[in-house]
Amino acid sequence: MLSSTIGYYSLILGLCSSIIIFYFSIINYQDKILDTKILSFTFLQLFFVIISFLSLVLSFINSDFSNETVFNNSHTTKPLFYKISGTWGNHEGSLLLWQLVLTLFIFIFLLKSDNQSKQYRILTLLFQEIIIIGFFIFIIKTSNPFNYIYPIPKQGLGLNPILQDPALAIHPPILYVGYVGSSIIFSSVLAATILNIISREWASHIKKWVLVSWIFLSLGILFGSIWAYYELGWGGFWFWDPVENVSLMPWLALTALLHCIIVLEKKIVLTSWVVILSITTFTLSMCGTFLVRSGILNSVHSFANDPERGLYILIFLFSLIFLSIFIYFFFHKQNIKNNNNFFWLSKETSILINNWFMMYFLSVVLIGTIYPIFLEVISSQKISVGPPFYHKLIIPFLFPFLLAMAIGPNLKWVKSNMENKVNLILFFVLSIFVSGFVLKNLDQKFLINTVLLSSAFYLFFITIRDLFTKNFKNFSQNVAHFGFSLLILSILLNNFFSSEIIINLKVGESFENNKTKIIFNDIVQNKQKNYVSIIGNFTVENFDGKIDNLKPELRIYNQPNIITSEADIKTSFLSDKFMVMNSVQNQEYFNIRYQVKPFMIWIWISVVLICFGGLISFFKKKNEK
């Protein structure tokens, strides 16, 4: 009760301090030095949001059901860990978390940017405050996390059990750091455009922020993907579900932006790209929040269908886009002398090619995600766009993309020549042989698979070679590219060599084909704190004599009454053995899916490697200064 009141009023105080910051910033704009009041108020703003957030967490821990958010999303029998993570497992709480990250980031930005010009800092702060104020009003008006209910209910409705999972407890905060990081980039780019200070120094300053949000966005997507793999029982790592696509789109834009910034650090080219990509990344992050939270994409993530919220975010988003486009067209000046020294065979060109590919992938994903919504609005026809659409449009372009990625980093800035490129070709021949060998026994679609696998192997070999021959000069890039090649390789091999058995079995029955024998031994029932678990006991005998014991689980939660299946996964370095079991209509038969997924763990490892590359780059610059 008390904590809700404190939380609500600190939100309002937070809004007040934001407005005060906004006012002081405008007054202070012409002065020479930054008013210390601004810094204090930015701290105060952060402080109020932290208080507000903590009081919500406290309400969740104490199961204070006089609070509507807690009532809707918590339950006394829930373990403490999930009571806490339940704070951001819902619409209101997740927005409060978003706000917390926003205010924290602008505070860090002000602290860390004192070597930049004062006008630039003030302008960035101004733009950031527009976003912060917008979100304050949004939270207080449409999704206040501190609404009272009277009479006070005795028990809450509980958190959706599939969200009660460690990976999903940390997935939203990490993803949000990535999303919100893009807002700092957005504000900073607008400020730099107005002041016309897009320069090499600015690039190395903003690169930190780009790296931070890029790393967190990648990790956030990774956690979501791992969770979907073992919790949803779909048996894979990526499903082209709209909600996944929505997080992939800002990642693509951000990756392109990161590469542009790297070029910009060396010479002043591609400035329009930087501005447009920053605006795109931020818009897509906001769009992501809008599409997911408004319930337009009907999925696991949509907590409520509230048109008012959707409308507010939409209007807010459009005004920000118009503002940024206006600023871009009126203030952005191309540096005319730049275009001269562009030679076709250079690092810049290869990064430009990379950008075009990224933009292409981005538009494919965007159209596939948006088109069904669009069609339904204009013609009320209901359609869905499945994986074949994405595969067909993306896979053929991976081939040149991978090649460009292998060759690009070996080119020089400005101009490179064709000498010493013989070994590049040698490596290519080698990769064709290797992939031909790997695919020898596979009869389906041999040509396209060979081409794809060759280019993936090519990138793999080249990056390994670069790791050792370049004396760690460009270590971060090498690690990240190596991670990416590993990712593509694992995905391809995983696709080629996965096998699957889907059957319905009764207890005591067994199934046998020419490779595997599955024996359903028995089931065990246990009563846990907030669910009843049914564990199936299976023995899987492989033709090579290996015997595995797999124990997939069904959980019947009491509050809310939902059944979830917990897959049992035996992970090894070479392959994952995955089994999930479902009951059908309480009949004797259980629906069983058994999959062998090669190189599954390498998909996760490679994404971690990619992030690690980013991390090295983040710390490297710091040491040099």
């Binding site: 009907n298 159209i367 067909k392």
Partner: protein
């Protein structure tokens, strides 16, 4: 005479435009091929041509219609006006149950029989596919 720079820039603009047009064309073309339409049992009954495209059928699982053997699951999808028989071998989502909403993806054998390749899993006890909701509201 135009200078080299102007020519180069012209070349770039043409290149970018053709790439753009080409990729938009590609995307739209493959969108047309890979889109899956949603239909209710009533709409299927009214079809003049069954067609060979993949479709989605949505509705409620009819009570007492689910039967299961070691290979297949069969059930009836109803929108309370018309029904369609579905045969499915594959993974059944947790929330699949009689009297609940369901969306099945697959191919029509004829107007009464449907072979599903996928049953969609949506994880919410109150979840009803928006398509089903709309179909029920029309009733």
């Amino acid at each position: 005479m135009y200078g080299r720079k102007v020519k180069l820039r012209f070349f770039f603009v043409v290149l970018i435009l053709t790439t753009l047009i080409l990729s938009v064309f590609l995307i739209l073309k493959s969108l047309e091929e890979n889109v899956v339409y949603f239909q209710s049992p009533t709409e299927i009954k009214e079809l003049t041509d069954i067609g060979k495209k993949k479709i989605r059928v949505g509705g409620m699982v009819k009570n007492n219609s689910v039967s299961i053997n070691s290979k297949e699951i069969s059930f009836v999808i109803t929108d309370f006006k018309n029904e369609i028989n579905v045969i499915y071998s594959g993974v059944v989502p947790n929330l699949f149950s009689e009297g609940k909403g369901v969306v099945a993806e697959g191919y029509l054998n004829d107007r009464n029989f449907f072979t599903a390749s996928k049953i969609l899993a949506k994880h919410d006890e109150n979840y009803m596919p928006p398509e089903v909701k709309a179909a029920l509201e029309e009733k």
